[in-house]
Symmetry: C2
Subunit: 214 residues, 2 copies
DNA sequence: ATATTACTTGACACAGGAGTCAATTTTTCA
DNA sequence: TGAAAAATTGACTCCTGTGTCAAGTAATAT
């Protein structure tokens, strides 16, 4: 186990850099092969480090994977200011959709790792799903329900609306290969995600009886 | 290589049964661990057959996986009657959404395997994506475009509408663990998928300026 | 009944991958 | 500059998983 506690020596500039390099390499690997399919060997190659060096920073594959999941969940939490009962639904939903689409743009690997994890039964996210995550959903569903009660929008099922937003926005990160194949492109264009956000907002908001802001 | 050509002996009742058992077992395994993470050993255990027996029917892991992908694509193709320019958009889209939701209900494992395959870069579906699949999408996008041109619906981007329908419907198969965790259930209720189909239809059709049929 | 083919299965060889360790080099700071 | 901690890395062990093979048993057709 590498140093982490009190020591009169610098805990690490090198450490920080290497940890980042390793995590970046591992994200690609885990997104491409899933947890079981990923190998420490390929992660080491991608990071351009000898394999034992990876084990110097992360005791084992599981620890490395956990570190990555943690980083993903942190980002998720940071990225979303909560919505509230007094918000304008059109405004709030539109912003949320935009934020989710931008996450797909900026962190597609995170989205893929998370998606794979869920598809495969969330073996490493059980606890998160049934605690933090469930709470988040319930709170936000409550807000949507209150908007419905205030007749600010059509009587849609709040959970299904949340699932609709998640699925349609994450799709552009998770299924990028399929989409790019259809588009006959190698990569998304510069402002493709902007158009996705605005098109999705249009359909979803209008579908809920709301008028997209400005 | 097992017999397949002319032989005066029965090619196999036993064969048929075993192949089915193996494929069923393998679907669970591939959906749960992805191609690389899956092991022939666990597939054999699930199928309750000795491992070499699996190799008697499928030369190797790749062959078994290919057989499964093929079966999935066949089902996909069977399940969808094409839509056409003269169809009523509301009718046609609503039917398509319903059909896709029902595929999520009846074949969640197929959906997960397909999703994982795409997320990981479609290494085994390259050819399908850039041929058959691309054609299908282009044809259907053309129909939607013609509906737009005929002013039968709002001027939505046909591709983004197709992606929206795919993502929102497949989500209930692929992300079942997440959804069930939020719903605090062990499995979907009997008519949950019906409500999904109708709620999604409502939002998406209305979002495109259409009125849901009946 | 028997020859022929289909199917079964234990035992093996081999490769890939995880994790360890000890010896060494580099960095740090007093 | 030198002692201590951090970081690197080659070499090793052990395990899991794939695919093969040969010797067997069961099914089938004449």
């Amino acid at each position: 186990m590498p140093a982490k506690k009190d020591s009169k020596y610098k805990p690490g500039k090198i450490r920080g850099e290497n940890v980042d390099t390793i995590i970046d390499a591992a994200e690609v690997e885990f997104a491409t092969y899933g947890y079981r399919g990923a190998t420490m060997m390929r992660i080491a190659e991608r990071a351009q480090l000898p394999r034992p060096n990876i084990h110097y920073y992360f005791a084992n594959k599981q620890a490395l994977y956990s570190a990555i999941l943690e980083r993903i969940l942190e980002r998720w939490n940071e990225s979303f200011d909560s919505i509230s009962v007094t918000d304008d639904p059109a405004e709030a939903l539109s912003r949320y959709i935009h934020a989710k689409v931008m996450l797909s743009k900026t962190h597609p690997l995170s989205s893929k790792i998370f998606a794979t994890e869920i598809i495969q039964g969330a073996p490493h996210l059980d606890e998160y799903l049934s605690n933090q995550h469930k709470l988040w959903v319930q709170q936000h569903a409550d807000v949507i329900r209150s908007w419905v009660d205030q007749q600010k929008m059509d009587p849609v099922d709040p959970l299904k609306l949340i699932f609709l937003i998640w699925s349609s926005t994450q799709h552009y990160a998770d299924f990028d290969y399929q989409i790019l194949s259809v588009l006959e492109r190698k990569a998304y264009g510069d402002d493709y995600f902007d158009s996705v956000a605005s098109d999705l907002s249009h359909i979803i908001l209008k579908g809920c009886g709301l008028t997209p802001p400005h």
